[in-house]
């Protein structure tokens, strides 16, 4: 546990001046606080003796209170702010670290999980620094001051007051721990309820179409009940704590009543001291209660810290070691030299022994069945995976020698699944450089055959899209992300099956436009459609991670291999329809 907490030291050390200052102030404040019951005692004793001069004790109380107010506020603010500052630094560091993580990392950590770490775990650490420190200080000083004052008044009575306190401490510790776990459970159940509702509503049309409303309500009820149960058990622990803790503290009060009262009757204790004891007991009961909370807080913060540093310790998978002598601009020839790549955790290479030379200005299409390695191959070029050394060369330099920044600035890669941020279309399209001129953005949209759709939207380029914005159709999303790639006019453009939801005619329009404007730039694309692939200068057919066929549309048709088979199936539909096919053939010719 301590090892986990020690890792936080570098983050906390920055604010040690503030923390030490705060702690010192707390100590001073405690002295003022201890003066109040003391003054009260003096006052009560004077009254008992029948003296009417109470000015001194009253002034004493007012002064002590004012002094305490100023100092405690100051100290609390100083320490709590340290907590917020640590939280601020941790968030920044966490965000920064995540930015450089690769696919293996995200296979291990789900986004929801990372969000919990970033929100709940960092918050636990902030509380430890900001409130935990305050509590530790209260604990130490209140105990010391409280006990010294009590001992001064009556050592024997102090002994009687003591026994319930360790029990109180232990009880609070265990219960706080349980409470912490229960509260996390409540959060989990609430978020799974939320997830269920969200999912249900996203699929509401499917549900209604299949008349599944009743089943869905039943499923919802399960989540609803689970949440209610979790909530209830949390409330129970909480409520029991709030009944038991004062009762344990009351045991000390009973000791004062019984034994202290006895001493008053004997004449060995003044009534003033008797009442002051109640105040001091409150003063020391508080820290013991708090001590239990601190321990549980430390434990939870230790877990939180371990969870955070597990992420911090994860090294970026893709090393970024640019070598200074690579040329600043990429021209666009690509050479694959016996490229073999195996995913982590797999015992079979996804692609093997690939040799391929692509000239600057070529348009090359990659085809193949699902899982044949098309995407894996293309990802090597922008190093979305950890590309092996001496396997992929751009303009005769190993891709590993380029800085990631250079590689990804000059090679545009449009991924398979279209992701849009909850921002205006304008910044979504011009994502790499948010301050591009609006004309350029429209041009890119035009090139992606998306400008007309945007023009029909009420806010045009300023339309907010993404999760919290206007819902676009699959085809629109793809064209938006395509525009994001096209706007960069990069020397190399990689289109990874990004026409899948776009209809054939639109696709043809986009591609013929691309072919015209990118005649001296390299374009690589993945497709399932022969109608797409035939636009390319060359077609590479992958099968089971290996290059099976390379050539032009005509060459491959003559070769009568996989490509020819694809072409035949896509032209004819399934085998049994030959009779109908012949008719179509007749008519369309």
């Amino acid at each position: 546990m301590f090892r986990d907490l020690l890792r936080l030291v570098p983050f906390i050390r920055k604010y040690k001046g503030r923390l030490i200052g705060g702690i010192t102030l707390f100590f001073i404040a405690r002295l003022f606080e201890a003066a109040v019951p003391l003054c009260l005692m003096v006052g009560i004793n004077r009254l008992e003796r029948g003296e009417a001069d109470l000015l001194l004790p009253v002034l004493g109380i007012v002064g002590a209170v004012a002094g305490r107010f100023v100092i405690v506020s100051w100290a609390r603010i100083a320490v709590r702010r340290a907590g917020f500052l640590v939280q601020f630094d941790l968030r920044d560091a966490f965000y920064k670290h995540l930015q450089y993580m690769g696919p293996n990392f995200f296979r291990q950590y789900a986004i929801g999980d990372l969000m919990t770490r970033a929100v709940a775990d960092i918050q636990l650490i902030r509380r430890l620094v900001g409130n935990g420190t305050t509590m530790i200080v209260i604990f130490c000083f209140a105990t010391i001051v409280g006990f010294s004052c009590m001992t001064l008044l009556s050592p024997t009575l102090t002994l009687f007051v003591l026994p319930p306190l360790p029990i109180l401490f232990f009880y609070t510790w265990r219960s706080s721990l349980k409470l912490g776990l229960a509260s996390r459970k409540v959060q989990e159940k609430l978020s799974s309820l939320g997830a269920q509702v969200q999912e249900n509503l996203s699929g509401i049309r499917t549900i209604q179409a299949m008349a599944l409303e009743d089943e869905e309500v039943r499923r919802f009820d399960d989540h609803n009940q689970a949440y209610t149960d979790a909530f209830y058990s949390h409330a129970r622990i909480h409520s029991i704590m709030h009944s038991v803790m004062p009762t344990l503290a009351a045991a000390s009060a009973v000791a004062i009543l019984g034994y202290g009262g006895h001493k008053v009757l004997q004449g060995t204790l003044s009534i003033g001291a008797f009442t002051a004891f109640f105040a001091y007991v409150t003063m020391v009961v508080q820290p013991f209660r708090v001590a239990g909370m601190i321990i549980s807080m430390l434990q939870r913060a230790a877990v939180a810290s371990r969870r955070l540093f597990a992420v911090f310790d994860y090294e970026p998978e893709i090393p970024d070691q640019g070598i200074p002598w690579v040329p600043e601009t990429i021209r666009g020839s690509i050479f694959l030299n016996d490229l073999t790549f195996t995913y982590r955790g797999s015992n079979q290479p996804a692609i093997a022994n690939i040799n391929l030379t692509i000239q600057r200005g070529e348009m090359v299409a990659f085809m193949g069945r699902i899982g044949s390695g098309k995407t894996t191959l293309l990802k090597q070029i922008v190093r979305l995976v950890d590309t092996p050394k001496d396997a992929v060369f751009i303009d005769d330099f190993d891709v590993c020698d380029y800085s990631l920044n250079q590689l990804r600035t000059q090679i545009a890669y449009v991924p398979q699944d279209p992701f849009l941020f909850g921002e205006p279309l304008r910044t979504n399209i011009s994502y790499d450089q948010p301050r591009r001129k609006i004309d350029q953005v429209w041009q890119a949209a035009e090139a992606a055959n998306f400008a007309q759709s945007i023009d029909e939207m009420a806010f045009k380029m300023e339309t907010i899209v993404g999760e919290r914005g206007v819902t676009l159709s699959g085809g629109q999303k793809q064209r938006a992300t395509l525009a994001r790639g096209l706007i960069r006019h990069s020397p190399v453009l990689i289109l990874d099956d990004c026409f899948s939801s776009v209809d054939t005619e639109t696709e043809e329009q986009i591609l013929s436009h691309l072919a015209a404007v990118r005649s001296n730039k390299t374009t690589l694309l993945v497709s399932h459609r022969v109608s797409t692939a035939r636009h390319a200068d060359r077609i590479v057919v992958l099968d089971d991670g290996q290059v099976e066929e390379v050539g032009t549309h005509d060459e491959l048709l003559k070769h009568e291999g996989i490509y020819a088979e694809f072409e035949r199936i896509q032209r004819e539909g399934s085998d049994e329809d030959r009779s109908l096919q012949s008719q179509i053939g007749l008519v369309s010719r």
Binding site: M115, G194, G203, E215, E216, G261, L384, G475
Partner: protein, 630 residues
């Protein structure tokens, strides 16, 4: 219902932020309706809170009046009222033979233990009432939303609807628990006030002078913090949104080399959050320290004033001590009230939003007397002069056609010709006039939507894959479908083989929206899902997506099995899909342009013929070459 035009709804109203800045008693009364089934627990809670408050008052009375005044300092001539505590102590002493001091201790212990029990009882019964009531409310709300028609979901954002069920109900928890806490605080406050007034009116009045000061400070403090808290909340959610989105789209971020830019942006939001959090923390610390101090000052004031009174024997020593012990009970409720007031206002707004959703009565009209469908439909479908519009301009203009039982009809047409709308009308996802659409000769408006939809299997174009396993996506919780039926359906739909090839077979978990399957595989699952219900009429709105060649073959093959023995309507985007159909309907701009068999239509050289030539045009390589050279 035929021509009773649905009033045009203002959906922006649903999305608008409602301001519930006033205390709305009507809303609270309406909320009580959900608590009614639990009135017994609520009553228990009220009784328990009375007992708890009385005991909370009795405990300090035992210390000050019984022990100090009667046992330790009996020489005093004034005696503070003990509200029966002295009598109880003496009763214990006379029955047990213990000394008065010991008896007082025993009484104290007993009172403390009972307090522990009743206060727990009060909290738990209150919680029970609230959480059960709100669970029911949430159920009703969800059920209500679940049955809103397509028109509703076409117009409002899902996120907004979702917040109703989660966050808004959550705020009501806070509201009701807050009210409960207030009762728990105000009752001892009232009792303490009564005791103080019987003890010494002057001193009580002096102490009560404090209350307006505290109230004023609290109000000022809350005024400042309300705005600040809102800023804190907004900055926190901006932080989380930013992080979440950055993680979801990280690949794009990395590919666009936006890491530094995004980090700077996050840093800025993080800084904002720090600023607001620190400000509100500072205010809060000052306020709570001030409250502590006020309590201490009050102690001083009591001592000063009461001191004189004790000397003049106007009040007993114990009475004075009792006063100091009541300070907290007087001040605490005000602090709590201050804390609750912001929550209260926020929760009022949430309550209004919830009731707005519950009152949203947009629905598909159900027949007053629904026609009972026979055990199995024959499967004939007729569209008779169907007219439909979403807004002002008609989407479907006078469409008539009929389908024989077991016939396969394909519908083709360009984007926006109204194909999807047409089939959505058949399943009554939108309301249409009476005598428009008939299934087995029965007007669909006379059939309950639930009955109708369970007989018509629809695969929507944007069918949804739920998270969960493959199995649960085919099964979908239908009570009369067992494991065998699921596997059988998957086999018929040609999905079994690819499912078995997955690492966990049928128990493979699907990613969000089934992203870990290909579009084609998802389509096969959607087929299997429909097959489990064995519908008499099958409606398929084909997805436009580009499907890999292998899966495409499986889909074509599955379609053949699927349509066997049922009436089927297929909206096709690829003409390969429809080669098997008996007749083809060409929809153009909401009207039937052509209808007939494949060959008839081709011979006609109309729209269908053009569509056909477009998809099967031969490649013109020379032209391509030329384009490249340019």
């Amino acid at each position: 219902m035929s021509e009773a035009a649905e009033p045009r709804r203002n959906y922006e109203l649903f999305d608008a932020e409602l301001s519930g800045a006033v205390l709305n008693t009507r809303l609270l009364l309406r909320l009580l309706k959900w608590m009614r089934p639990y009135w017994k627990t609520l009553a228990t809670s009220l009784i328990a809170v009375c007992a708890t408050s009385l005991l909370a008052i009795a405990l300090p009375i035992i210390i000050s009046v019984v022990v100090i005044d009667h046992v330790l300092h009996p020489q005093s001539t004034v005696v503070a009222p003990s509200f029966g505590m002295v009598w109880l102590t003496e009763w214990i002493a006379s029955n047990t033979g213990w000394s008065l001091l010991i008896s007082a201790c025993a009484l104290y212990i007993a009172a403390q233990l009972i307090w522990a029990f009743t206060s727990h009882l009060h909290r738990m019964t209150l919680t029970q009432t609230v959480i059960n009531g709100l669970r029911d409310l949430r159920h009703d709300l969800f059920k209500h939303l679940e049955t809103r028609p397509f028109t509703f979901y076409d117009n409002v954002a899902v996120g907004r609807v979702m917040t109703r069920v989660t966050n808004d109900v959550e705020s009501l928890y806070e509201l009701l628990r807050g009210l409960g806490t207030l009762v728990g605080e105000l009752m001892p406050f009232a009792f303490a006030l009564v005791v103080m007034l019987t003890l010494n009116i002057e001193m009580s009045l002096i102490l009560m002078l404090y209350i307006p000061i505290l109230v004023a400070v609290t109000l000022v403090f809350r005024r400042y913090t309300r705005r600040l808290f809102r800023l804190v909340r907004q900055s926190v959610s901006a932080l989380n949104q930013n992080l979440q989105e950055n993680l979801s789209g990280l690949q794009v971020v990395q590919l666009s080399t936006r890491e530094d830019y995004n980090l700077r942006r996050y840093h800025r939001i993080n800084g904002n959050n720090l600023l607001f959090e620190s400000r509100s923390m500072r205010l809060e610390t000052l306020y709570s320290s001030f409250n502590d101090s006020m309590a201490s000052v009050a102690t001083g004031v009591i001592l000063w004033y009461a001191g004189g009174q004790v000397i003049q024997e106007e009040i007993s020593l114990g009475g004075m001590v009792l006063f100091t012990r009541f300070i907290d009970m007087l001040f605490h409720p005000i602090v709590v009230l201050g804390e609750q007031i912001n929550i209260l206002f926020r929760a009022m707004a949430s309550g209004e939003r919830i009731f707005q959703a519950l009152d949203w009565d947009e629905a598909i009209h159900e027949p007053e007397v629904a026609v009972k469908l026979p055990a199995r439909l024959k499967g004939s479908v007729e569209f008779r002069n169907v007219i439909f519009s979403y807004g002002d301009s008609p989407v479907i203009k006078d469409v008539s056609f009929s389908i024989e039982p077991g016939e396969k009809l394909a519908i083709v047409g360009t984007t926006g010709s109204g194909k999807s709308t047409l089939i959505r009308l058949l399943s009554r996802f939108y309301d249409i006039s009476d005598q428009s659409i008939f299934v087995d000769g029965i007007d669909v408006n006379r059939i309950h939507t639930h009955d109708l939809r369970s007989r018509i299997g629809v695969v929507l174009q944007d069918f949804h894959m739920f998270s969960g396993t493959i199995y649960s996506n085919i099964w979908l919780g239908k009570p009369n479908v067992d494991e065998e039926a699921v596997v059988k359906a998957a086999k018929t739909a040609n999905a079994h083989d690819f499912i078995m090839a997955l690492p966990d077979g049928y128990h493979t978990k699907l990613a969000e929206r089934g992203q870990n399957l290909s579009q084609g595989q998802r389509q096969l699952l959607a087929f299997a899902r429909i097959l489990t219900t064995d519908p008499e009429i099958l409606v398929l709105d084909e997805a436009t997506a580009n499907i890999d060649t292998d899966t495409e073959l499986l889909i074509q093959d599955a379609l053949k099995t699927l349509t066997r023995g049922r009436t089927s309507i297929i909206i096709a985007h690829r003409l390969q899909t429809i080669q098997d159909s008996d007749r083809v309907l060409v929809l153009d701009d909401g009207e039937v342009a052509e209808i007939g068999t494949h060959d008839e239509l081709l011979a006609k050289h109309g729209i269908f013929y053009t569509l056909h030539s477009l998809q099967f045009q031969p490649v013109d390589h020379d032209e391509l070459q030329q384009r490249h050279q340019r």
